[in-house]
């Protein structure tokens, strides 16, 4: 699950400005002159809303929020939700261009009837350009790739105000070897190199047949072993999601379901009728050999919708385990061969740490989240969570993995990034940041 990060959050507090001295009435008037009065706000509640996301990380409110309505309106702190045009749909080339206000659900609604869809789905109804910025992925990435594999071109407002088209203006060849891969550099740059104002995306054909299923396992090892074997058999599975017994229980209660409260896989198969049948047969065989239950089927769109809504609501289901408390999601990703041991060690660590943290994951990619639920007023519990999260990050690093499969670095994982990529890579990233944003205007303090 990738959390949606509000696009309007420019974390001014991390710049050298101590208070709001710079925010003069003159300056605000200038902003209003550009975008219109209703589109500038300094209200505390608005600023705070733009300073936080779905996580429990501390709020870093900007001093002003501005809603531009077009790329030409520049400024301090940007909420791009009003830039919501979908353009350049090329059904024959499987491409479309979207502005930052377009969410992946809005795009898929727009595509209805075209036979096409955009599969990258982080769960929440995130902005597609925001998903570019965080290199998001989600449940379908095991088959269709992450944002990295599904962005063909980006329009970016650079820190100096120039407009960059990373692959040239209005271009969408399937591949290119023309110069440095700027598109790839901006995917996952978390707003630190420029404002993404348009993304040209790769679409996919809606599969002829789609079947979803659920199966339960006697233990975590059996579920994860099945996952690894399905992937190693080269089965082109579209979704393979793990939920531990705590997560299944939480989803049952939150979404009114009645799955066995055991380690469980949610699966989805895409293809021709024949290919789906073949994939299902092969997967069933693997599952059975690991002691898994028979498949509970979700063949019709409605049943499938219910299944995936329950999965996508895992975050809220976890929160409901301790009403009134806050959530803290980890996001490690490890090589498949190391996934069983890392998951099992993490389960043990959870027990030892006496923490509530259902596990859920895009295990086909080796990526899983521990949704820790804690009382933010309880200093001792907060400390235990922070220490657990750090241990988990380091456990993933020791297994040849990453501290973040899809959420990004932001503020909280800067130390883990250093440990993960090393000083040379970090200084190379800094050199790029310095070259493209020498005044450190863009999302200062983040990532590096």
């Amino acid at each position: 699950m990738a959390l949606r990060r509000p696009l309007g959050c420019a974390v001014r507090r991390f710049s050298a400005v101590p208070g709001k001295e710079w925010l003069t009435e003159d300056f605000l008037s200038s902003l209003r002159a550009v975008v219109g009065s209703p589109n500038v706000s300094t209200a505390t509640v608005v600023c705070e809303q733009h300073g936080r996301d779905e996580s429990m990380h501390r709020s870093c409110p900007p001093d002003a929020v501005v809603w531009p309505q077009s790329m030409e309106q520049g400024g301090v702190c940007f909420n791009l939700t009003k830039m919501d045009q979908i353009s350049e749909l090329n059904p024959e080339d499987f491409t479309v261009a979207v502005e930052p206000g377009v969410t992946h659900k809005a795009l898929n609604r727009f595509l209805r009837g075209s036979g096409l869809w955009f599969p990258v789905d982080p769960g929440a109804d995130a902005s597609l350009c925001g998903m570019v910025a965080t290199a998001a992925s989600g449940t379908n990435a095991v088959r269709y790739g992450t944002m990295r594999q599904n962005v063909l071109n980006l329009q970016v407002v650079l820190p100096d105000g120039r407009v960059l088209h990373t692959a040239g203006q209005s271009r969408w060849p399937r591949k290119s070897a023309a110069g440095y891969h700027l598109t790839g550099l901006f995917v996952g740059s978390e707003g630190t190199l420029g404002l993404i104002t348009q993304a040209t995306l790769r679409l996919h054909g809606i599969p002829e047949a789609t079947v979803a299923a659920v199966c339960a396992f006697p233990n975590v090892q059996a579920a994860v072993d099945s996952t690894v074997q399905v992937l190693q058999a080269g089965l082109p599975i579209a979704r393979i999601e793990f939920l531990d017994e705590v997560m299944v229980g939480a989803c049952n209660r939150y979404s009114g379901l009645s799955y066995a409260e055991l380690p469980t896989l949610f699966l989805e198969f895409h293809g021709s009728q024949q290919s789906v049948e073949e994939q299902v047969r092969a997967t069933e065989e693997i599952v059975r050999s690991n002691g898994g239950s028979d498949f509970a089927w979700a063949r019709e769109p409605e049943a499938r919708g219910q299944l995936w809504t329950a999965r996508h609501n895992a975050w809220y289901a976890a929160l409901a385990l301790r009403p009134g408390k806050k959530g803290y999601s980890t996001d490690v990703c490890v090589p498949l061969s190391r996934l069983p041991e890392v998951l099992l060690e993490t389960k043990e660590d959870l027990l030892d740490s006496k923490l509530t943290g259902p596990l859920v994951g895009h295990v086909g990619d080796g990526n899983f989240h521990c949704l820790l639920i804690l009382d933010p007023e309880d200093v001792e519990e907060k400390k235990r969570v922070a220490e657990f999260a750090k241990r988990l990050g380091r456990r993933a690093l020791a297994a040849g993995g990453t501290c973040t499969g899809e959420h990004g670095i932001g503020l909280g994982k800067r130390q883990l990034l250093r440990e993960e990529v090393g000083e040379v890579a970090l200084s190379t990233m800094r050199q790029i940041k310095m070259a493209l944003d020498p005044k450190n205007l863009m999302n200062p303090g983040k990532v590096l």
Copy 2:
């Protein structure tokens, strides 16, 4: 077809040095002290050999050639063929690490019996790290992606001598959102940002069934329309290669074959037995509806080998059309929907220009090459070729495509790169180059 670029070519002539004054005996002694006498050469024939590739572009010989045997040996001009270790094979994770001396054929020989293979295949037996440097692709890219999708991590010696691991040392998660995507930046950087000394690659399972076929069409439009329709139907075809009637004739003569001299598709299908049969049936239907011939089958490994060897020898088959002359390959790539018109206009332009230029292409990606054969002594013909190539590049750009799908920019396409990506993108690339290689030590003069 991607041409192999010799890794040892540091184009010293493009630096400020007018002659070989800098190459003192002292300096050569120092080099010999590091790598040993037999591994330093200033012989004209050796330098010239390292200054050219398979193309007819002018030779830019270095003044000295050095063969280091390990990453620790630094210096001026590098031939990395003696760094040929394959390490860190992880069959369960489908990953392996290779040094620059390892070619894709050597890797696939090494993998024999493991059930795994590396599918990116530019035709020539290229160095895998060289393929990283040029963002190579080739015949299997339509199904398995280009180098961009198949590199997980890189070890790079930076211009200042530090060793960079683009995704951190000894890491190969399937996905990551940790900091800037340095791996993607170095793929396709053509040696201008650092020396790639190791690449961690994504491997694939050998398909259960493989079938290849050939079919001929009454005209170019029908062949290309079939290609577009196969892709648009979402068929997971592994290879779909176009050869025009001139190219088929040349291959027949060069490889002793007897295909009808008509616009032709070479196809390959990978999958389970059942899936391959299904793909073949659907493709045959599309081909038939466009007036294509029945499939000529190559089911057994030997027959398939013969088919693809003929395809891979297209460059030499084209050269044999005018013995003693030189070849000049173009490399445009356009959105699929524009491919038929761009191909047809190019055929007309060839006729109008009175040039010999068989067409061959990875048309599933919208990528094709015109293998122009010319007399380099004939100034007028050289001019016609240069003008044709420029027109073709601009035709691709006008159709929303790129001047290079897989060969890269090098020296010859710097002006087209400017037209393709625009001034802002070009200056952004320059800022990155300046930041990472401020002394312009790495492959100076190339790309930018």
